[in-house]
Symmetry: D2
């Protein structure tokens, strides 16, 4: 069977690199176009030396020209920063190319909220309405029918999947939620910057953007939908000295009596019974980022603390794979009528 020709707009970051890794052995997509303003003219292997000896490495990076891309590709992954993505998305949609946008440009349904948190006026408000939030556990059907996917942020993926069953069943005080997230350094991007040099991150740990990270409104939008009413979350990110992985510890207070651990565990296993990429761990086991390294898995651990009347949920994902490029490919799979896991059935790289 012919593979579907796909494009990658923006090769210089870690999400572009991760897309290349996944697509290198995807049975049904073929990367045919890769673009970058800064790196045009080079071969892909010059940017991604790990592709040495693979066919994909010989692709010549081109300038991002919507006409050229549309001629070559049926579907395109946008791995460029927010602000830059929205125009390219509009250009490609206008040329009947399906788009999976890994930036934040189409995640927030309210353009005013976008403007407030990202400091930019949105230039394609109509497309916001059309875009589908690409979390398969919530929107698989809509994703399958979509032309434009707003691929979820890494932190929101870990928070939303962690809280979904509790909120759906109205078990927690909606003004009590604290999300303490810890992310690997790929989340900070691949731009040259002193703050993310090896010697600034290694053997250290820090919090940043407490209470004001841009993923906050995205988290609140999706959790409010699930809960059926508007809620506010205290979302607080930290930077881990690891390459990949997000672990989020979610603190909630139960509305009534603290449920038993067993009942909460059953709630979660039921909620995710049909979702192969969410793994609810047995009681007594807590997730570790390495157990999901390089994969689509979201691992969830559960603790009921009767002393403090809290349900504590720990979720772990690979921020680059599940939190970005793998999820983008999963959406592309659904949009192309492939199984969700096409090309994504990988065992975690341990250790």
């Amino acid at each position: 069977m012919e593979r579907i020709p796909v494009g990658l707009v923006g090769v210089t970051g870690y999400t572009g690199m991760e897309l290349a890794r996944i697509l290198a052995h995807h049975p049904s997509f073929e990367l045919v176009t890769a673009t970058s303003r800064a790196e045009a003219g080079k071969k892909l292997v010059d940017i991604y030396p790990f592709l040495q000896g693979m066919d994909m490495g010989s692709i010549e990076i081109s300038q991002p020209d919507p006409d050229q891309i549309a001629k070559a590709c049926s579907l395109v992954f946008l791995a460029v920063p927010h602000g830059a993505a929205m125009d390219m998305a509009a250009e490609l949609i206008a040329r009947d190319v399906k788009v999976v946008d890994l930036s934040a440009d189409f995640r927030l349904r309210d353009a005013a909220v976008y403007a407030q948190w990202y400091g930019l006026e949105h230039r394609h408000v109509a497309l916001i309405q059309e875009a589908v939030y690409g979390l398969p556990e919530l929107y698989a059907d809509a994703i399958a029918r979509a032309r434009l996917i707003a691929n979820p942020g890494c932190y929101p993926t870990s928070v939303i999947l962690g809280l979904l069953p509790l909120l759906r069943h109205d078990l927690i005080e909606t003004d009590s939620i604290v999300a303490d997230s810890k992310s690997g350094a790929t989340g900070a991007g691949r731009k040259a910057a002193t703050g993310t040099l090896f010697c600034e991150v290694s053997d250290s740990f820090r919090a940043y953007n407490l209470g004001k990270h841009r993923h906050t409104p995205e988290i609140e939008q999706e959790l409010s939908r699930i809960a059926g009413s508007s809620l506010t979350v205290s979302f607080n990110p930290h930077l881990l000295p690891i390459n990949r992985g997000i672990l989020t510890t979610l603190y909630t207070r139960t509305t009534g009596e603290t449920p038993t651990a067993e009942s909460i565990h059953e709630l979660y296993t039921d909620a995710y019974a049909e979702h192969e990429f969410v793994r609810v761990l047995p009681l007594g086991r807590l997730p570790e980022t390495r157990w999901v390294r390089g994969t689509m898995y979201c691992d969830i651990g559960l603790v009921c603390d009767t002393r403090t009347n809290r349900v504590i949920v720990v979720s772990a994902i690979d921020n680059l794979c599940r939190g970005a490029s793998g999820q983008a490919v999963a959406c592309a799979n659904l949009m192309s009528d492939f199984p969700l896991s096409e090309g994504l059935a990988m065992a975690p790289l341990m250790p």
Copy 2:
């Protein structure tokens, strides 16, 4: 001036090693005795190769004999596990030797609580009453007069110093506190164990003992004293792939209106004005574990999140120095009428 002869009981762990590092250049203490059941007969340099070429390295490790120790030392640091420490402390106190116990054996004032959390009957209940909790910011005067110090746990040090001003001024709901702590791997000790091998910890991150870590009752005991009423804390530790450092993110809800960041900052700078080892960072700056590496500093960052009505406090310490051996030496300084910072004035090792 003659230096005061001191002893170290228990050389095989990281706290023993850190005591050796600090004492190696302490101007007023001289390590004269080091004991270990397992390593007796070796020289200290064989266990601590970084002492190569220093006088201290030539000390011969002996069996822990209270009579011998008492003959040689005026003050002894106990760096042995809880359960083992209490008997040695009693033996040494009985021989008029001052004791700084780095274990948990004398931290909990209620022997029943000790029995419940540590699974052991306490064999020296009378000594519990005499022991002083060795946090200089709380108990400097009592420490100076004490014969027996219960050196604080690493996590409790970071939590108590982080919350002290808020609780003293009654600004937060006492049933709302969540402490999300992240510790470097020295906190897990130096015992051979698969779970703390390099390849099990490196490039990964995990939570453990959520809601049931043994430092919980110690935290609650001291915070309750400060608050003037019994309170419960949701304390939740995590394991960082770094050697040294604890960063604790403290989530609180204010009782009334959320105070301004400026007022909270002033509260903290006032509270710690006379305490050289607590550094309240300017608003807008958050602590990093590397900024306190190898030192006694506790760095504190403050965020007032009006969206969620929370004051978020971030505290960072070096778990081995401030959280264990450095704090022990600080107590010994006070017990010997030296300045608190004697031999402890070190700049953080950066990076």
Copy 3:
């Protein structure tokens, strides 16, 4: 098509874990038996939590009984220490089961050399003669016909592949070779030991076993065969604070004039033209362990230093995959008439 049922003897180490990772998605092998004296009775997922939710995780670990194994499996991977492997290999061969032995027990063709370096008398000398050294670039045909594979050591794989073309063409002084190898900590095994704790390895670097590592005779045996005469190598390993990867820097002196870099590069690209898993990098590019992470690739970089009359070769492999379990599966592929790369076509996990 039915998959071939295979067994894994020895689940507790990193090579067993890596076999599980690779076999989890191998299209033609099915892991049906896993054994361990220490862990018998548990499920595989209890030992390898990253298998959560995968079929393989539900395999119950059994005691290593040759009859049971032979009944269930056509081919078995031995991931037990040297000394223990040889007997199990003999038992399984006697029962017509093919064996890929990841230990050193059948690598040295001379039982006296084995006894000298491993301190053990070999108990199955006849089998040594039958065993094939499982380096596909050297012995693909013999591997395909073999019943018993001596899977190469990790260091030897990196050294042999790095020097093969130079020695085959008689270009270097055979008494001049220095191999300075640096290995990730998985190479040290998964046994609980103080020396490989996170805090003993992290943020540090050290040499060990200089001139006397047990991989030395294996390296010399294979290089001597290639060179056609007996040679001696100064092989010197170091421990890197990384999980996976070996990078070996090979120092050689040319017999005549130093060849041009271009001619050496051509020599290498020719030598490995038919070997998909060896990637000779373009001149000017040097390998990095991350570019081969999780894969079978051996990357080779070349430098001709006319100042010192040396050809310097740098080779990089993943010690667990190419240096152990992946290579074992590659051998099993050849023994089963599958393509060499069956189930092994994976892109490196970057970063």
Copy 4:
């Protein structure tokens, strides 16, 4: 006693930061001036947050004006890049300020060699002749009398100290030397660059600049002096995923019979008997970078490999302290008639 007022020209790099760390508690020098074109106007604590709460933090960074500096300081440390340092050195020397230059500008005695390796014409050739190479083990007396110190490079320090006794006693073939050096990432500087981002360095390892690193002529110059004849070294650096530390493995071939390990060990202990900062480890022990972390120590381990007729020397230093700023302070100590170790008597930070 009044402390001597000193200046720091160039605060943005790791060597500047390390100078601040050391000077923060130096009993006899007082940092009074810190300059930077890029950061002028800020306080030192804004650049070095670890100085929070220390007097030094309140120094305002100024533009580098030689007149101002000369008015305030008796001695100045230059922590600016090569090329920039030479003019400032000349300006300060002309104003009777002593200078310790941490750049490479005055290390090579032959301006032509400087031009060849650094691609720059030297603008102050006369000063080259006056400059003293700041390795105390070689040039303590000259350092004490010098106005201008060329502070040694990090790699050269590790190589020269490792080979000194062997070369002085004519024991090795001078055309046989291979230096395989591995450095922590602070050696790559603090400039924002993609190649030294955390995610590019972490969990990986690579060689770079094989045979052509700029420290090569510096190494050859000093080793040739020691040997009494011109020699060539194959010097080959690698990048370690650690913050601090260089470990160099030195491969030599003995001219005659391989000496006994004991005789080599005696040679080294004799050579360094009077040099407190060089620690020759007992036979059987090899250095680790962590054992010298944060200190002036150079640890040396020795192996005599009779199989290959080689003496292998392993040396370890902290590249920032011994390899740069600590050594600079040691030179300043000698220039000021202080003991070599003034303010530098620190125990290694372990772990």
